[in-house]
């Protein structure tokens, strides 16, 4: 199996891009990725592409990517794996190179959540993740989907809404210096706790915003990476995990087994342990989900996430900084782009050029969990030697 490296990365800002369509966002992210390649990129070098997108604004996803980025001569595969789409697109591209099929491939992710009327968004997106006869009519909105877990988690663990609020405060603060982030302002614990309730126990500031955006990664076989850069970021491990799709079938809702499975696969492939991770981008669509994920990813023991939060360990400057980009919570969450953009952030972190730099970061982890909390993808990256 050949080693695979990231040699270029770029993304659009995450925002409510009412004035930009998917056909605008894709070439924007692609061009920024191409520009980031230290020794330059000939588009003709790209041999294949994987495109992660949940919804399909303006139609056929693969064709739109081919058409808008001048990739009509290469195979393009559309990846849809709920909120794990981005990191699963990375995983598929890695297999394309690791197998020896290709030397240079493109990974892109994009979505436009704000393309439909906000009052219609719920039912449109719920159709992709719910059982039509049983769950769909109950009104299991996306926050409720996760809140069912977090309510039980708060019941069984010492964590409180205050700890969740501290996660929101942290991620908002991290986003302030990130020019690509959607919510670049500080908030306080009091603001989080006093915000309007969305779905108990989530107030407004416990929730990710709805976002549009696109992100791109250029992957190359390690043995050809030096054509593009002297400072590649190696992809050490990839993993994907699944779980039962209906909430009533999940035995222990204080954990996401999909994450545990994905992390086990990625760490196993990399030969690394959670203690090796220097910086992580973790799926914080809702604050409590970031806390449960600390435990599922092995950053702390079961029901001890609150200790990491209280100690500030997951803030930049702490022992295991999480979401230095602001995370989904403050950077934004266009689902298909989210995982790819996590890797864009970590590419910069591991090369020392991030806007909110974690000093000396060498091993990084990206994580998504989503859909009906039934799929997770984890990617492990290693920075270039100093």
């Amino acid at each position: 199996m050949r080693e695979v490296a990231i040699v270029g990365a770029g993304m659009t800002p995450f925002a409510e891009h009412f004035s930009l369509g998917i056909k605008d966002l894709l070439p924007m992210a692609f061009a920024e990725c191409a520009a980031s390649v230290d020794k330059g990129l000939e588009v003709g070098d790209i041999q294949a592409a994987w495109f992660g997108e949940l919804s399909t604004t303006d139609g056929f996803p693969s064709g739109i990517l081919a058409d808008t980025c001048g990739l009509l001569d290469v195979p393009i595969t559309h990846v849809e794996n709920a909120c794990a789409t981005g990191n699963d697109a990375v995983r598929n591209a890695v297999m394309g190179i690791a197998s020896g099929f290709y030397d240079v491939v493109l990974v892109m992710g994009a979505d436009k959540v704000r393309e439909s009327a906000s009052k219609d968004t719920f039912w449109e997106w719920a159709g992709m993740t719910r059982d039509m006869a049983w769950d769909y009519p109950l009104g299991l909105v996306a926050p409720a989907n996760f809140a069912l877990h977090v309510a039980r988690y708060l019941h069984e663990s010492p964590a409180t809404r205050e700890h969740m609020a501290m996660v929101a405060v942290k991620n908002h603060h991290h986003a302030v210096s990130n020019p690509k982030a959607q919510l670049r302002f500080d908030i306080t614990v009091e603001q989080v706790l006093n915000a309007p309730m969305v779905v108990e126990p989530f107030g407004l500031y416990d929730c990710t915003p709805q976002s549009d955006g696109a992100a791109a990664l250029l992957l190359a076989a390690a043995d050809v990476a030096d054509k593009y850069t002297n400072r590649p970021v190696r992809i050490r491990g990839v993993g994907l995990g699944l779980d039962r799709v209906m909430h009533q079938h999940k035995r222990d809702m204080t954990t996401f087994p999909a994450t545990v499975r994905a992390a086990k696969a990625a760490f196993g492939m990399a030969g690394l342990t959670p203690a090796d991770v220097d910086v992580a981008e973790v799926h914080d669509c809702f604050t409590g989900v970031e806390m449960i994920s600390y435990e599922d990813l092995g950053f702390c023991s079961r029901f001890e996430a609150y200790k990491l939060v209280e100690a500030g360990a997951t803030s930049v400057g702490g022992s295991i900084p999480v979401n230095p980009s602001g995370g989904l919570k403050a950077k934004g969450h266009p689902p298909g782009a989210t995982g790819v953009a996590q890797c864009v952030e970590l590419f910069e972190q591991l090369r020392g050029s991030a806007s909110n730099q974690v000093d000396g970061a060498r091993i990084a982890l990206a994580h998504n969990v989503g859909g009906p909390t039934a799929v997770s993808a984890v990617t492990l990256l290693e920075g270039p030697d100093a």
Binding site: K119, M132, A133, W134, P143, R152, V199
Partner: protein, 419 residues
């Protein structure tokens, strides 16, 4: 003459002393199911579908002796949810009765309910349900023995002070005095002239009018529609009062003579509480797949799990399985699930959700005695008041109206509310 072996009543917990209102998840069918199940249960000591999933009895819940041997169901209401598309299958499924049973849907008020009862053959379950202006339902089971009910008077007269067209458009002539004098009182007088005794109770009218017509002080009735006739019968049975019972709707009156006989009366009439404030946000119609509806119907509306042949494991919803050897297992039987359980986790949705009244609570309930959990909306309690560990029962409710299709399923009713 018919014999009534059991009478059961149901009132929604919402409203005030002045009258009950149906929750947003209740309609004439769900109200009828509440009363009808209680009547079957009262008469035969066990409603079909009462929790045999853990045992060996996997027979179709409604077949044979299930459902207490009910052979016909008559539903009387002026508020049948669907004029076309059918309420009968949902009604039978909710009652736990066999789908082969005959269902008559009768459009009518209190006289129609009384007529349905007095003309019914044995093994008929007569249910009357009202949604507006006051909500309630009552059911009577006609049997070979029990309280005797004999038709004694009937007069159909036309004084359409209030009209409602097939399209649901209501007109009110606006003369309650005319309605009283030339409607109910004139008809009762006409019957008296033919020798009818003064009634002990008059259903279908408000308490003042009833008191003006009746001998003695009639019991207060919670509705003025079809169900009021059966509520009145329940009150007479409880007070062991034999005598005439009249039921009126505008100028039409029916009368029966209530005699002697043993009858079980069961009331599910929780204390009234104000209906919680709720917001309805219009949006696109909620889509429905009728193929998915059809596949799910029996398990979803009868509350049945699939029990895998061989292992005996329960799947809710029922499904095919694939074994470790890759072999497909499609052999399962539908078995009724227990209807009581404990909240494992729960949340309350506060944001507006187009097409659904908000706020609402969602819970995952661990059912008693089986390894099955259910995701359900909470009913009969204010949103946000149910906690992990709370106990309650699963009841048939209207989950949503999806592109014109009422979508029924089970909701969790916490114990305090059910008491």
């Amino acid at each position: 003459m018919t014999h009534v072996s059991a009478i059961a009543t149901y009132l929604p917990c919402w409203g005030s002393a002045g009258g009950r209102v149906a929750g947003g998840d209740e309609d004439a069918v769900t109200l009828a199911v509440e009363a009808g199940r209680a009547a079957i249960d009262a008469s035969f000591g066990g409603v079909a579908g009462g929790g045999s999933a853990g045992g060996d009895d996997s027979a179709d819940a409604g077949g044979g002796g299930g459902g207490g041997g009910v052979q016909r169901v008559v539903l009387v209401s002026r508020e049948l949810p669907l004029l076309e598309g059918g309420n009968a299958a949902v009604l039978l499924a909710g009652l736990g009765l066999d789908p082969e049973i005959e269902v008559s849907e009768r459009l009518g008020g209190a006289p129609a309910a009384l007529d349905a009862l007095s003309s019914a053959r044995a093994r008929t379950l007569v249910i009357a349900a009202d949604v507006q202006p006051f909500a309630g339902a009552a059911a009577a089971l006609v049997a070979g023995s029990g309280l005797t009910v004999t038709p004694v008077a009937r007069l159909a007269r036309s004084l359409p002070v209030r009209t409602r067209s097939a399209a649901g458009q209501v007109h009110d002539y606006g003369d309650p005095r005319l309605l009283r004098e030339r409607g109910v009182l004139a008809s009762v007088s006409a019957l008296a002239a033919e020798g009818a005794e003064k009634p002990l109770a008059l259903a279908g009218v408000d308490a003042r009018q009833a008191a003006a017509v009746c001998a003695g002080q009639p019991a207060a009735l919670p509705t003025t529609g079809a169900s009021s006739a059966l509520f009145a019968l329940a009150a007479l049975a409880e007070s062991h009062s034999a005598g005439p019972l009249f039921a009126a709707e505008q100028a039409t009156v029916s009368g029966v003579l209530v005699g002697d006989g043993v009858v079980v009366v069961r009331r599910a009439e929780p204390a009234a509480r104000p209906l919680p404030a709720s917001t309805f946000t219009p949006g696109k119609e909620i889509p429905v797949s009728l193929a998915a509806y059809d596949r799910a119907f029996s398990a979803k509306v009868r509350f049945e799990a699939g029990r895998q042949a061989g292992t005996g494991e329960l799947d809710f919803p029922p499904r095919y399985r694939v074994g470790p050897d890759g072999a497909l297992h499609t052999d399962y039987t539908l078995v009724p699930l227990p209807r009581t359980g404990t909240v494992y986790t729960g949340v309350t949705v506060r944001i507006p959700v187009p097409g659904l009244p908000t706020p609402y609570s969602l819970v995952i309930v661990e059912l008693d005695g089986v390894d099955v959990r259910v995701l359900a909306r909470v009913t009969g309690a204010s949103p946000g008041t149910v906690s992990i560990g709370d106990r309650g029962r699963m009841v048939l409710r209207l989950v949503a109206v999806r592109s014109g299709v009422p979508d029924y399923g089970y909701a969790f009713c916490p114990q305090e509310a059910a008491a």
